[in-house]
Symmetry: C2
Subunit: 184 residues, 2 copies
DNA sequence: GTCTATAAGATGATAGAC
DNA sequence: GTCTATCATCTTATAGAC
């Protein structure tokens, strides 16, 4: 395997294990075993397990928003885009077996690492800004102000993801989508 | 210390450490040290660390709803009770340093224990039922149906708690409360 | 740059004295 | 029922050979 392949392979395995088992319950030994590389190779690419976590979160953040853009690109109506945002999250939760939001999960596991804290905040701020941009164009009913509607959609979505992780289904994400439809 | 005192002391320390540091990052050694008891005493009262976790969650669930009842008892209007529910969660988050919901935290840390899963679900189902009961009496605006309004309040509250854990403030819980006020 | 071997410490849990 | 001492295992991380 080339240098880049090894790094990608490690990130790939770590991303899967951190999400499925949790960061603290995933040992370095399991990562190297499933990636089929030597321990020294991992520490050649990443200075520590924490650094591997940071790299995973940075990578994931980029891929997640790229995936969202791609998912929404077939819609032109901002209202439809907002509703499809829920579909994106529903589809991913089904695929990923209802583990909930990867950033929320890590946030619950890690208490003391400021770099992790910053990356989680950044992800959520970006998501809310993404919603806000669409709300400005989509808010016609005017039941709520643009800012209030942005918060409402953001919080309903976060709440729905929270429920997905707890109840292992997408019922609340579907409900949230329907509620947003009524408020637009 | 009497037998009951020891058990209570262990639960007390475990509750604090599991919430502040996380379950997986809290070792049995730290629990016995801070509780000032011997390791064998802990294992006399609890068969395993998992059993201690279960006892903590059961205990916490009861105390949490008792605290809620107590907090809301001075209000008679169901609409005021619903809004005060948000105040309860805001007050607790300030007190507990924005760690988010204890059940959500545990749910994110533990993947494979069905007893934990059941207790988390039970807590959330009870919270939603609590809201539903108040919504039936409070929903006058009829912007949303009773069921839709119940889900909306529940999800806004969960989303707000999620934000508290991430942003380390109660801004979104306050926003959620204001939104609910408009929808009632 | 990747390998094996190992360090140094923490983990959950138990045995046996008193 | 509480104590001390210890077990076996797992943890992250490093050293040194090739």
């Amino acid at each position: 395997m080339s240098k880049i392949d090894v790094r990608e392979k490690i990130l790939d395995v770590a991303a899967r294990l951190f999400y499925e088992q949790g960061y603290n319950l995933t040992g370095i030994n399991q990562v190297i075993e499933e990636a089929a590389i030597a321990k020294a190779s991992l520490y050649h690419h990443f200075a520590s397990k924490t650094d591997l976590l940071i790299a995973y979160l940075e990578d994931f953040n980029i891929k997640w928003f790229a995936g969202l853009d791609n998912f929404l690109k077939s819609y032109t109506d901002p209202k439809q885009k907002l509703l499809a945002f829920f579909d994106y999250r529903i589809a991913r939760q089904v695929e990923r077996n209802y583990g909930g939001c990867a950033f929320v999960k890590i946030n619950a596991e890690i208490e003391t690492e400021p770099r992790v804290q910053a990356l989680v905040e950044e992800n959520k701020n970006k998501a809310r800004a993404y919603i806000h941009k669409l709300v400005i164009q989509a808010n016609q009913a005017k039941i709520l102000s643009n800012d209030a509607l942005t918060d409402t959609i953001f919080l309903l979505m976060e709440g729905g993801m929270n429920s997905a992780a707890i109840f292992k289904n997408t019922a609340d994400l579907e409900s949230a989508k329907k509620i947003v439809k009524k408020l637009l």
